[in-house]
Subunit: 335 residues, 4 copies
Amino acid sequence: MTRIAVLGATGYAALELIKILLRHPEAEIAAVTSRQEGRPHVAMIHPSLTGRLDLRLEDLSPAEVSARAECVFSCLPHGASAAMVSPIVDAGARVVDFSADYRLNDADVFAEWYGQKHVDPGRLGKVVYGLPELYRRQIVGATLVANPGCYPTAAILPLAPFLKAGLIDPKSIIIDSKSGISGAGRTMKLTTHYPECNESVSAYNVGRHRHTPEIEQILSAAAGTAVEAIFTPHLVPMDRGILATCYARPISPISEETALQTLRDFYADEPFVRVVDHLPGTKDSLGTNFCDVTARVVRDRLLTISCLDNLVKGASGAAVQNFNLMFGFPETTAL
Amino acid sequence: MTRIAVLGATGYAALELIKILLRHPEAEIAAVTSRQEGRPHVAMIHPSLTGRLDLRLEDLSPAEVSARAECVFSCLPHGASAAMVSPIVDAGARVVDFSADYRLNDADVFAEWYGQKHVDPGRLGKVVYGLPELYRRQIVGATLVANPGCYPTAAILPLAPFLKAGLIDPKSIIIDSKSGISGAGRTMKLTTHYPECNESVSAYNVGRHRHTPEIEQILSAAAGTAVEAIFTPHLVPMDRGILATCYARPISPISEETALQTLRDFYADEPFVRVVDHLPGTKDSLGTNFCDVTARVVRDRLLTISCLDNLVKGASGAAVQNFNLMFGFPETTAL
Amino acid sequence: MTRIAVLGATGYAALELIKILLRHPEAEIAAVTSRQEGRPHVAMIHPSLTGRLDLRLEDLSPAEVSARAECVFSCLPHGASAAMVSPIVDAGARVVDFSADYRLNDADVFAEWYGQKHVDPGRLGKVVYGLPELYRRQIVGATLVANPGCYPTAAILPLAPFLKAGLIDPKSIIIDSKSGISGAGRTMKLTTHYPECNESVSAYNVGRHRHTPEIEQILSAAAGTAVEAIFTPHLVPMDRGILATCYARPISPISEETALQTLRDFYADEPFVRVVDHLPGTKDSLGTNFCDVTARVVRDRLLTISCLDNLVKGASGAAVQNFNLMFGFPETTAL
Amino acid sequence: MTRIAVLGATGYAALELIKILLRHPEAEIAAVTSRQEGRPHVAMIHPSLTGRLDLRLEDLSPAEVSARAECVFSCLPHGASAAMVSPIVDAGARVVDFSADYRLNDADVFAEWYGQKHVDPGRLGKVVYGLPELYRRQIVGATLVANPGCYPTAAILPLAPFLKAGLIDPKSIIIDSKSGISGAGRTMKLTTHYPECNESVSAYNVGRHRHTPEIEQILSAAAGTAVEAIFTPHLVPMDRGILATCYARPISPISEETALQTLRDFYADEPFVRVVDHLPGTKDSLGTNFCDVTARVVRDRLLTISCLDNLVKGASGAAVQNFNLMFGFPETTAL
């Protein structure tokens, strides 16, 4: 059994992570942390865990965490996460970081998009991006893995195969994404107050969502050249799920069948990417670690449509997939 | 044109009220108030009012309010409302109060259920309860009207006819109510954070919801004897609507047809109560000032099922209905 | 009073139309039709109309319709609509047609996209497209008006000003639209069965939605040159509302402020188009005849975001706006 | 590995069953049946099963089913289920029947409530009711188990302990239940067409829902005397979940603490009943095999509030729990 700590355990990604780990035969949750006063029982925060996990939320130091756990999942907010993760990694524990802190290679880009100086810039550029479909080999045996953002995974998986193959113009990419409300987290905001967001669809952070540089960095690496993407996130009234509708201009004309075959070939051996012929809906992947992708060609433009559960393949499922790879368990365990 | 002020204009009932008043040919909204800093334009708070009402939210004193308006709708919270309304009424303006401050006749009962001393106890017991179906005559010409709570209206309308006619046991009443989330207001709470309450049904405040004494007081007046009710409110994942399923023991056996006829007779001339044979759903009354009611008899027990839009017949529509009666306009104007 | 007939009154657009007409001081609903057997009362089909409209659904011939009504709103499906509308117009009644039958100018394009021969091709090209913001002058006094599709209105209103001004490349347009489920109509389909479409987002009819040629025809007329658009409709789990996110390549660089000013200038005198600075959500326009539009510039690309209620500005509200113009009533009456 | 057949595999309970069985280490799905033409792949009907189960839907005879499977889960409608199940049991396979066919002990009661003659009346009264919390001993080793209805499980679990202990009046019971829409099945009906049921709550089948005699039969057995219950089901706009609010008159006064302790004692060793102090919401048990129950005392009346996922503990999870007991696997396997 591998002893696990979950940092910042009050949010939705942490809750989903705990549920997945509870059915993992090789994982034992040893600690759950939060800065909440009074060490509340985890079931006080997450009633769905009643009777399933008998732990209290503790406010632990990095030293205490690394003493208690071999693998640490950090669900802390950006900034706070690196401040905890850095000494934990130094102390020898292995970490999957859900925050954005170690996803970008460049501290200046981080500062520009996140509005704060990076607290651990020395490690940037050396941390593996935890998307097994692109970086499996590096994840195996890694000490610190930057777990991808939910929007990036939904956009990178359908686009990377075409960019790797040089089939689409890297400056032509538009990503129009639709996300369920859990993606906005458990912190109360008026925009996620039920009567405000129910029965409504809206775009937000147009042109300035923080997942933009992350998407561009990973797609650029895939393309071998700088990729520029317009990324437009939308909130839709449902709990979970992201659907990404991506548009790109092919370098030379491409048929729909070639487009689909490109995806099928690229993901032939992947356990969690399903290339489908039909138009997938987010409900198809709800509660699973699958990302469903398909492609269409309309007026000579390539369209990809992809969907996933933002809390599973977009967060906690991916994290456990990374954990399995890091620790040598079968990749699909508990997923 | 009657000059109107809306106090506490940032909430959902106030928003709905403003929308109704905008189509009222005899009403002119002269002021909207809030304690918010900076006098924001009302459309900054309620984007749906963009281009429809060109007013800023002001923090006005009672004197300023009564100087500016002939009729004042107070959407302030309990406690705060009476503190504003009392001097406004003294200054000669007429008021429809959405809060609970003037609904109960007894300051001790108020203190017990609302956990605070009443600031204007002298007026209690003399204020008209603004349910036209029971108190139309008193509302006409009234200076101050206590606008009913949304749950009380949904429960009183189906039960009062049977209690007035002495057909049901006044100690046998169970009211099982289901409400949309807007009933919980615009103040952010974790319970109304979208991912918490969407796709979930739950009961809350069982046995201690503040609408209980209000329901019992009005039903007792209708029955001419003390009524005791068990009231169980539930939150259901939708914006608007209340469905009340009420159970009562008939004094002597009653047929379903007699039960329905009792309702039909009682509400024969009412413009906003629809006695229906089918089982109504809240959507039938969505966005309208109607309350739909029906009755059934199951195992000798009387069941009533009633529904309304909590923001219209349950709040702002009723308030305008009261306004129309107070000021001598046709009762259905703008409704 | 103008006598009105509503053809095909069992659907959602007809229901919304009836509700709007019920508050129209110059309209009297004289007949509602349907091929349903047994002449059911309209409230049997639409319980929300209980007590509001005392008519039965009748199966009337064109001659009977034109004898009973001065203005006919046809909510019949395409094909069936033209077959009824053509003789009604010949008999002298005036018609607002909700179907697609008279929207396209070219019978071949109709046949290609709708998979059937047009039954009244002689009238094509002479019927006014009922979008007052572009064709007000022609609508005034028109005999037959083709009421626009909901997706087209949501896409045309934000894009037309830029095409008219020659500011964007007419071959570069992408329209990514998100619609509530009522847009799919009242006919039962598995895709709109609640447990299938709730908590899910999906694209449908990618590259082959029938509103595509309608959008292109009207935008081409605005541009004075052939416009090609990629139109991707999505279903989102809510009752009503369309949000259109449109992307286009400016001919020469454009600032966000210029883009917004272009919209503001174009719609300065329009009662139902609100150019807003914030990012609008569909709920802002819910239940109203407004279309809210804004613009952004991201990586030198123009984005427009627009929203409306598909059953009001996207159907029945627009129809009443047309009716008002056709019959000389103030354009905003009942809206 | 135990070979499994799922009969009537196109519905939601079957889909959920398949998902649970896919993670069961001792179960192998050998056949999935349906009367659909053309032997479609199961993923054509349920896209979420893409890549997870490579079987076609077959129209198999009872003999073929019993040849292929050791355990048969019948998700067929009532009537059709017994016609298949009877010969399958005779042929020696073991069956968990999701339909109502074997739940009632009396063929006349069945005929009265289901409007048809029972096709296999000889077995009635000898079939185990598959609620492990009450009938675990009989389920172990059973050949045929009648899997409980979703509403009955949600109502029986909170009430049985009080009836067994003789603490409540068996004629005083009111069950007010609220269910998500998946409970109405995958067959299209106007009442479950999205725009009809979304944003609406309604009661249905008041006084005549078919789960009434089932609830009364099992509660009567628990009480040792005839129980009469008023059962009022409601549809609420969400995919899954049942909340049951039950009211009963205590025989002698009972405290809230005693009520809670009665539940705690009764379910002390149960793996899937969680007695909680807080008011549970259906989301707490979403996707799990838990039933959460609590109790309150209001005006001397006992209230119980219970919730479960209608497709898991209310159907497929319970079925696998029964399967585990029947075949000697740990009861919580795969749950």
